[in-house]
Symmetry: C2
Subunit: 363 residues, 2 copies
């Protein structure tokens, strides 16, 4: 019983979050977060700058889906991400693997088969060439494993003190196979089931532990991995899937708040059902972090109709990356973007996105 | 007579450039240049990391051309560029317009009609939000004017002192119309004609003047502009066009050295034929800079068969951005990537790419 508190139609208890500060002044670290400040920057400044009728940016997907007479019947997915993770090398991965996986995963969330990547590097003067070679080799391994080619790119260098070693920006193009269900953040309906493909929070705490040299043990590793096979397996097993998200910055909570806002509904989660690895559980407790807000880099969150939830779980669990897939909650009627969590002792708490991430520069 | 010194089959006088230093140690500013050091980084570290049979990266184009059964008959162009220009605002443009034009122009060099862009922003904590709004508005204006949509992106923030205000990374996808001639850097043949679509060096000296507050006058402005219409006009008028290049970092010289290396030929230019704006000519003289090495952001360089050169020039000159298009030299037999310049007084000088750019962070 992972979703008793989240039956369809459950009343929404949460109040509106505190009003946002006006968007003026200077860029703050939180503007790059998965929290409210990051959303505010996008909503007030970035999205309005580019929105236009017919622009697929309006769908607010992890990737844009491109369809055009010039493409014949093909539909493409197109996505871009900047990686400013610190440190560049962390247990379980590095900025290179992360940059490949992150863009592959954004394309996967559009139902696409990822095919081609670009890689732009912003190097700081003085960065060791040996480290650059390591990152490039890691990108190649990750690309090979995900079946994508890095086909184009750019390399720039800035003066010492004007960068931070290396930023990697990848973009990617994938092909959405014919017959792939349309996925949309506004398609979630009360009664739908929330699934996650595995344990939560591993990436965020592994990077934090490496950055702060917390020495939380050799078993605490990032989950960075490509999830496109998981995505295709899910869509085959659950063709009615409403939406897929790659819960990175801001964690599962930010992904669900976004889907809820778009769909005009809320979500209710069962805390006891959230899969956690033992090393991440220990680290999260020690650091006082809520796994709902911590970034993942090799996980999917799916909202599926109740009737397809079991088939979806079976499909995920048959995949090595989905062994710990779980049903963690439901879509519920109520405040758009609201999120409640049923605690293990039977209580219920309302979750509001924090103003900013607890962990900056995690991806 | 712009090309008397460059008759087909002219012997190649240049000697090999000095051997490159081994690639070890640390990233230097020059590794991001259009000079030899930048080429060395790509050739020894970046390209080998990603090269593979069937990877269009091997064509070394400004954009990769993607063809695949999944696309039906469509061919796509895909390109990415990081913009670290300093200052962010300069006479005639800003980083936003530059980032849109640069990627549009890379796609244009593949013969594509640019269609969709991504925009990734790496912001430094403390950057004025008002400046960000200006940059985004400039990107939108440039995108609208070029007929492209910004459809996806990402926003990251790094701590104060770990960035330089704003880096913009754009990538783009274009559609190569059916019947577009294949363009390839290795297709240049002795006797072919080198054309440029307009004046050279305006962008580089305008940015330098703004950065160093040289006060070289209000008429010295960047040429930043989208050249996709010029590219399509050229390909219609000169379907035998060998290759198109957007002579940015390293200027016309770097573009031609690259084409010459790929084609196993050299180029001979007529210095008196190089079109220069009056403000740029004055600034270049004052600063002691060779226009061949200075970046452009709204120009094309084309290598075309002699028989089509006149038609190509007519097509360019009919376009507002091509009014000062000129025939500036020829492809010649000789050392691969060699470059000679006939001086206005009838002499001849061999041009070697400098180890690094005279002007870092120009784009």
């Amino acid at each position: 019983m992972t979703d008793a508190a989240a039956s369809p139609g459950a009343a929404w208890p949460g109040a509106c979050p505190a009003p946002l500060a006006p968007l003026a002044g200077q860029v703050a670290l939180g503007h790059g977060s998965g929290g409210r400040l990051g959303h505010e920057l996008l909503k007030r400044l970035v999205w309005p700058a580019f929105d236009a009728p017919g622009n697929p940016l309006g769908a607010r997907g992890d990737a844009a889906v491109l369809a055009d007479p010039a493409l014949g019947g093909a539909r493409l997915a197109f996505s871009a991400d900047a990686y400013t993770v610190s440190p560049l090398f962390f247990p379980g991965g590095d900025v290179g693997a992360l940059a490949v996986h992150g863009t592959v995963n954004d394309l996967a969330c559009a139902g696409a088969v990822p095919r081609w990547l670009s890689a732009a590097l912003v190097l700081e003067e003085g960065f060791p060439l040996e480290d650059l070679a390591r990152v490039l080799a890691s990108m190649r391994r990750a690309a090979d494993a995900a079946g994508v080619l890095v086909v184009t790119g750019d390399t720039k260098v800035v003066e010492r003190g004007k960068g931070d070693g290396l930023f990697v920006v990848t973009s990617g193009v994938g092909v959405v196979p014919p017959g792939t269900p349309a996925l949309a953040p506004d398609a979630c309906r009360p009664g739908d089931v929330v699934l996650v493909s595995g344990t939560l929070g591993d990436h965020g705490v592994a990077v934090l532990s490496a950055r702060e040299r917390l020495g939380l043990g050799p078993d605490l590793v990032s989950d960075t991995a490509p999830v496109h096979d998981l995505a295709r397996a899910l869509l085959a097993a659950a063709p009615g899937t409403r939406c897929l998200r790659d819960p990175t910055r801001g964690g599962l909570a930010a992904a669900l708040v976004e889907l809820g806002r778009a769909s005009g509904a809320g979500f209710a989660l069962d805390e006891a059902a959230l899969p956690l690895s033992e090393p991440a559980r220990g680290a999260l407790e020690l650091l006082g972090l809520d796994p709902l807000f911590v970034a993942n880099e090799g996980k999917l969150c799916a909202v599926v109709p109740e009737a397809e939830a079991e088939a979806a779980l079976v499909a995920w669990r048959a995949h090595p990356l989905g062994a710990r897939a779980a049903r963690v909650g439901r879509c519920v009627a109520g405040r758009a973007g609201g999120l409640v969590v049923r605690t293990p002792v039977g209580g219920q708490r309302t979750v509001e996105l924090p103003r900013t991430d607890p962990l900056p520069r995690i991806c």
